[in-house]
């Protein structure tokens, strides 16, 4: 068997999720190759070469891979897909975008968002917002799989794989990349953070998220939000934790003013320790919390920040 892992990176480093995907590849077995496609991304290829268990890194560096457009990434992967039994990518906004395009081009039914590997053709994946776990077996010749990072450990950095240049594929010209507007923050990324402080509709306004930011800064934590808080315009969309947002599983998840809709629980219920602060004693979030406090968040959060001083 031979597994191709498509790396998510920022040109310099691998993004969180890629190294967990390598762990999933190792569980499938066989040789692991990482593909780093982008523009001016040689550093990311060097970072990929250090991931434990990787046999080879392929570097495809060309201007038309800036932004990792689905059409061009697919065209590139199709030039080498025949050499692999499995093609994997993290089930993030990055991998979700182009992996189905690769799968359909190969006439393969993709297996999305796996949380466990049972064998080289059988995988476990959450369905219905994680309220059920399906074990599925693929009958396709090539398995195209996206990997839920929280289901697998980081592979670690103990390798020294060779980096080979891969000739760029065609520029399909189907889409023109006009740039990205990335949220700037000194806090850790949600999907990589050890601790997350999340706010919900109960925060009342975007201004009040400053309370959570103060607490997060005390803890070195990332700040997240429920869909209700994002829909209310309190914080940008990339804060969203849940079924259709980011899936996280930090050591500690602090849910503040979040009622606990199933769509939100889907994104955080695998966290190691969950605490919930809500003034409603009936809030469903308490059902998944290890510790819960029934109190007004505007009193409890500053107290908590103070207590951690």
């Amino acid at each position: 068997m031979s597994v191709l892992v498509i790396a998510e990176h920022d040109g310099k480093q691998l993004k969180p999720g890629t190294t967990n995907t390598v762990t999933a590849a190792a569980k499938i077995g066989g040789d692991i190759t990482i593909l780093v496609a982008g523009h001016q991304c040689a550093d990311a290829a060097q970072a990929a070469a250090k991931v434990t268990g990787v046999r080879k890194v392929l570097l495809a560096d060309a201007p038309h891979y800036a932004g990792a457009g689905a059409e061009n990434i697919t065209a590139l992967v199709l030039t080498i897909a025949g050499q692999y039994t499995h093609i994997l990518a993290p089930a993030t906004g990055f991998g979700k975008n182009f992996m189905p395009r690769i799968a359909a081009s190969l006439d393969v039914q993709q297996v999305s968002d796996i949380s466990a590997v049972v064998s080289d053709d059988t995988f476990v994946r959450p369905i219905y917002a994680g309220n059920a776990m399906a074990t599925v077996q693929s009958s396709d010749r090539i398995k195209v799989v996206t990997v839920r990072a929280t289901g697998f450990d980081d592979a670690g950095a103990g390798g020294s794989a060779p980096v080979e240049n891969l000739a760029a594929g065609p520029d399909t010209g189907l889409a023109k990349f006009n740039g990205q507007e990335l949220s700037k923050s000194d806090r850790p990324e949600l999907t990589a953070a050890r601790i997350i402080v999340s706010g919900g509709r109960g925060m009342g306004s975007g201004e009040n998220f400053k309370l959570l930011e103060a607490l997060a800064d005390k803890l070195g934590a990332a700040v997240g939000a429920s869909r209700a808080a994002v829909d209310s315009g309190f914080v940008p969309n990339d804060y969203q934790v849940g079924q259709t947002g980011k899936i996280v599983a930090p050591e500690l998840y602090i849910a503040v003013g979040i009622s606990g809709a199933i769509q939100h629980l889907a994104g955080m219920k695998d966290s190691k320790v969950i605490i919930a602060i809500n003034k409603d004693p009936e809030a469903p979030i308490f059902a998944v919390a290890d510790y819960w406090l029934v109190e007004d968040l505007f009193k409890a959060v500053p107290e908590l920040t103070q207590a951690l001083a």
Binding site: G67, A70, G93, F94, N97, F98, M99, P100, R101, I102, A103, A104, S105, D107, V108, Q109, Q110, S112, T122, P126, I127, Y128, A129, G130, N131, A132, M133, A134, T135, V136, Q137, S138, D140, L174, A175, K176, F177, N178, E181, S183, E189, T191, V230, D231, N237, D238, Q243, T244, E251, L252, Q263, V273, I274, V288, D290, Y291, L293, E295, E303, L308
Partner: protein, 249 residues
């Protein structure tokens, strides 16, 4: 221009799903069903583009059991012009969905296809990207804004760290994210009007598509349960628990 929109009938997102005791799936008998929320956003987008004079006709397509006609009627009550149901009681996985939608697109020749980014039942997040792959068209997945001008569309896509802007050539497939719009409620007069709109029913065989599943579902189980938590009286007790019991801070 003509727009094609797809809609899926799913278990109502506010219903708590129950796994069947034989592990074959989740219970769908006597469970409230609804239009997939991302498909509602897709219909709404098409209707707004028609109201803005950009779109002339909206064709809405669903795949599944006979009751999907209700979902199509809802889309027509929102403003879609006519419906097509590919009727089958079989399980249709995303690749087969994409092939059926492509077959209809080949007949209908829309300039834009709008689909939900994900169905909230199987959470696959595949069909839209697959349709565009099969057609060789550009795709814009997870969009939060679309502006059509002539033969191109400027789109804003939601990505993990923020937003991305693309210009795609038409025809193209876009999939909707939550912030694209807020779908309207259907009104009684529009529900009555929708009943008179044309609704065509086809079988997958008529489209020449093999819908046999490629993924075999071996079993469906309940997720592991979290053990019951502890209510704390105040912040002091919470901090003590975190430090001494959970040892996470």
């Amino acid at each position: 221009m003509k727009v094609l929109v797809t809609v899926k009938r799913v278990i109502d997102p506010y219903v708590k799903v129950r796994v069947k005791s034989d592990g074959s799936g989740v219970e769908t008998a006597n469970v409230k069903m609804a239009m997939n929320p991302f498909c509602e956003i897709a219909v709404e987008q098409a209707v707004r583009m028609k109201e803005a004079g950009v779109v002339t006709e909206i064709v809405v397509v669903s795949i599944g059991v006979q009751q999907c006609q209700e979902t199509l009627r809802t889309a027509m009550a929102m403003g879609a012009d006519r419906g097509i149901l590919v009727e089958t009681a079989a399980e249709v996985q995303p690749l087969a969905v994409a092939k059926l939608v492509k077959a209809i697109i080949d007949k209908e020749q829309p300039k834009l296809v709008i689909m939900g980014k994900q169905a909230i039942d199987d959470d696959s997040n595949q069909a839209g990207q697959m349709v565009s792959a099969l057609l060789g068209w550009p795709q814009a997945a997870f969009t939060s804004a679309i502006t059509v001008s002539g033969d191109t569309a400027d789109v804003t896509r939601e990505i993990d760290g923020g937003m991305e802007k693309l210009t795609i050539t038409l025809p193209a497939v876009v999939t909707t994210d939550l912030r694209l719009n807020e779908p309207r409620y259907v009104t009684l007069p529009n529900i009555m009007k929708a009943k008179k709109k044309p609704l065509e029913v086809l079988k997958p065989e008529a489209l020449g598509v093999d819908v046999a599943p490629r993924l075999k579902i071996l079993k469906v189980e309940e997720p592991p349960k979290r053990s019951a938590g502890v209510k704390v009286a105040d912040v002091q007790e919470l901090v003590a628990k975190l430090k001494n019991e959970a040892r996470v801070i």
